[in-house]
Each structure stands twice: as structure tokens, then as C-alpha cells.
Amino acid sequence: MERVVITGLGAISALGIGADHNFAQALAGVSGIDYLNLSFTRQIPGCVAAQIRYPLPDLVKKSELSLFDRFSLMGWIAAHEAVQQSGINQESGQLDQSGVFWGTGMGGATTLENGYIDLFIEGKNRLRPLSIIASMNNSPAGQIALRCGFGGTVNTYSSACVSSAQAIGEAYRHIRHGYANRILAGGSEALLTFGIVTAWEAMKVLATADPSRPAEASQPFAANRSGLVLGEAAAAVMLESLSSAQARGATILAELVGYGASNDATHMSNPNPAGQARAMDMAIAGSGLTPTQIDYINAHGAGTAAGDATETESIKRVFGAHAQRLMVSSTKSMHGHTLGAAAALEFVLTVQALRNKAVPPTAFLRQPDPACDLDYVPLHGRRDQQIRAAMSNSFAFGGSNVALIVKDFV
């Protein structure tokens, strides 16, 4: 079976533009969270979010913008960066063996919601002609394939907060088994709209902010955590068979060696340690590594009461005594929970941690919950660490769990 390597990274989030910049910000413990500012006549008072507050880079012609929802535009920005870094272009050949696997939770919600405003509030009787193309969940995958000329398999995964983890993991399997030589994998999500955020609020899982420190509202593993902070982001990785990467002399950033996927099959929203452990066990078993060779876990760590304690328990089940030696951090403390993009963004940060031998912190973690008793790398990032392999965890409503493992390419 083919080995699968990473030759490009891309990211855009509230922490900024670019995979390197996002990692530098995360390592420094910078928060992208502040009060939510909606481009709508109504606001949601007190709600904080990891919102992209700067204009998006101008990568698409104005004449083509009608085809793009915000999540597609962000997706193309991240994908473009990853492809550029990989050096793959239209002259690279094998484009029919190149694909796109993308994840998103709710796709083009902004376009749909704007359409509803036109229809139901403004009383209009028609919508923009490209509303469907812009809002459909596979719009970013289609745009990326079109712009890169990738004529192989192009799939979209929608499994809430593991969407992009499944996209990366299934791409890994696809390449491993020889169905494709290269896959641009990742995910994007832009759900900071009045309607969607109001629906999240109704679920009573969003964090409440201390008015003196809104940037610190996302507090995974903390005793006083109050929930998750929604964010928007896109992130991408260029995955390639080792033979493809070596044949074109590509710079190999890391090797993807493990993918585990499971479902709790116990509840739609309550997490389950056995289900989470199954995903981690599967990833480790496939990786050829022992659990003790994994030095860092980028946790799902969303900041909910049940979620953080359950993940702590599942990590202990899988890693045993090694759990106490592992570094486990939740970068959601800084870039928020970016839902369908979360796994891809955190995977990009995990790859960067591996490469830089530096671990971003669980920012603002002053007082851990007694039920959360691992080394969560509180407050400050750590440089010069031994990181032989690293895992990225993602768990979702609907019960889906995914673990991905990367290691140095040797």
C-alpha cells in the first residue's frame, strides 16, 4: 500500500491568513475571539465568536463572486495556499489521478439565510440565480477541482464537527489503496449568521464571556468553562502518495500514518468515551506506532462540560500511564470551534507542531477542572519539545469520532 505524505498546508481563521501565521499566533497564545459583529440589522448581545474580521484576500474575480458563498471563498483561499506550497500546477501531470475531499457542516448557510431574508422579510419573490450553486455543500470541492484541474474523485463529507477529519482520513485511505495519487483535503465553515448562531444559542452550549475579557471566553478543560465559542475558518492539506511526491521532487512536510473513525452509537449529542477510544485505537493500530510514541494530542477540547471530561477519560483509556506524559492542548481556546473546518484547521496546527517541535497551549487555562487532569499545556506554548508523532482528535454531534496521526517523514 502507498504511504501518504503531506506536501502543502493552508489555513485562514480568526487568527489570520496562512498556515505559518496561524501556527505562530496559536503558539504565542493569541486569541481570535471577540464579540460577534453580524452584518445584519439585528445583533446577538453578549455573544462572542472567533470571527474573521478582516477582508478576505482577493483571489476570485468579481465576475465570479456570485458563485461563491463565504465558506467556498475561504475554502479556495486555504486550498490555494496548500496547492501553491506543494508546487502542483496544471503542468504537473496526473491531474486525473488528483482529487478533492472536502468537509463542511452546513455549507452555504450565509447564502441561504440571505435568500430567506429577501423572501420572507423583504417580500421579494425571487432569489439570485446562483443561490443553489453557491450554497450547495460541495461548492468548495467543485471550485477547488475546477481551479486546480483535478479530474479525479471529488467528494464532500458532512458530519458536523468531524466533517473535515473524515475528508482528510478518507483521502488518506483513497491514496493508500491506489485510487488517487494526490488529494487536496480539508474543510471550511462560515456559519456566523443571525439564524445559525441563534439556533446554537438555543442549544445552551455556547460560552458566556466575562465582559472584561471576551477574548478568553473559550476555556477548554477549565473548571469554570461555560461552553464552546463558534468560529469560522478554512484549512487544507495537500496529500500525496509518497511515490508521487518523490517523483516530482516535492518537499515532504510530514507523513500521515493513522486514521481512525467510529460512532458512539449511544446518543446524538452526549459524547461517549468508548466511542472516542475506538477511533483513537483504530488510528494507532493502523499507524504502526505504539501509543507511547505519540507525544502530542491536539484535542477536540471544545470547552463543554461533558465533552472535555469525556475526552480526558477516553485518552486515559487509550494511552494508559502514558496519558500523564502526553501533551494535550485545545487550540479552540484561540481559534474557537470552527465546526466543519475545525478538524482540518487543527490538523494543520498539529502538523506544524510536529514540524516545529513546538506545542501551542490551551490558552487562558488557569484553573483546570479536577475531572480534567492531563497536561493540557496551560497558558503558554512550549518550544523544543520531543514530538515523534502527534494525534488530532475530532468528535461530532451525531456521535462521529475521528483521530488522525502524523509523524515525521523519514
Binding site: K61, K62, S63, S66, L67, R126, R128, P129, L130, I133
Partner: protein, 83 residues
């Protein structure tokens, strides 16, 4: 402003070219205005002229085809009593 001038102005904005490049007999495909672009343009023109083109799907090849199409509906709208 004539219908042509309005069509040319909105088309030029949409595809980001100089309005002077657009003439009545200019081929839409040559300008880079594909079927999706033309659909969006028609949508903008409906707003601009406060008309509704309904479900008709005419063949639009050159810029003048759009102008003729719009003019026909402006005439229909003018003939209808105000609602």
C-alpha cells in the same frame, strides 16, 4: 441612458472590463460572459428596469440580444395598467 448603455454598463461591471469594449454586436462568449454570468446580469437588469422576465429562456448570443429582450419586457410593462 438607453437600454444598451445600461446593459453595457452592468455587463462591464460584472465581468470587469472597460465599457468601451462592449458593442451591440459583441459576442457574449467572446467577452467571457458565460451562461451563468448572463443569468446574473439579467437578474440585475430586472432590478434596474423594475421588470420581471418570467420563465422565458431566450437564446442570447450578442449584447443586442439582451437589449432586445429587455426592451420587449419594458414595452410589456408599459402597456400593463399599474397594479
Amino acid at each position: 441612458m438607453t437600454t444598451f448603455q445600461t446593459v453595457a454598463k452592468l455587463l462591464a461591471e460584472r465581468i470587469e472590463i472597460d465599457v468601451d469594449q462592449i458593442h451591440p454586436e459583441t459576442d457574449l462568449a467572446t467577452l467571457g460572459a458565460d451562461s451563468l454570468t448572463v443569468m446574473e446580469l439579467i437578474f440585475d437588469l430586472e432590478d434596474e428596469f423594475k421588470i420581471s422576465l418570467g420563465d422565458e429562456r431566450p437564446t442570447l448570443v450578442v449584447v443586442q440580444d439582451i437589449v432586445d429582450h429587455i426592451d420587449r419586457y419594458i414595452k410589456i410593462a408599459a402597456e400593463q395598467p399599474p397594479q
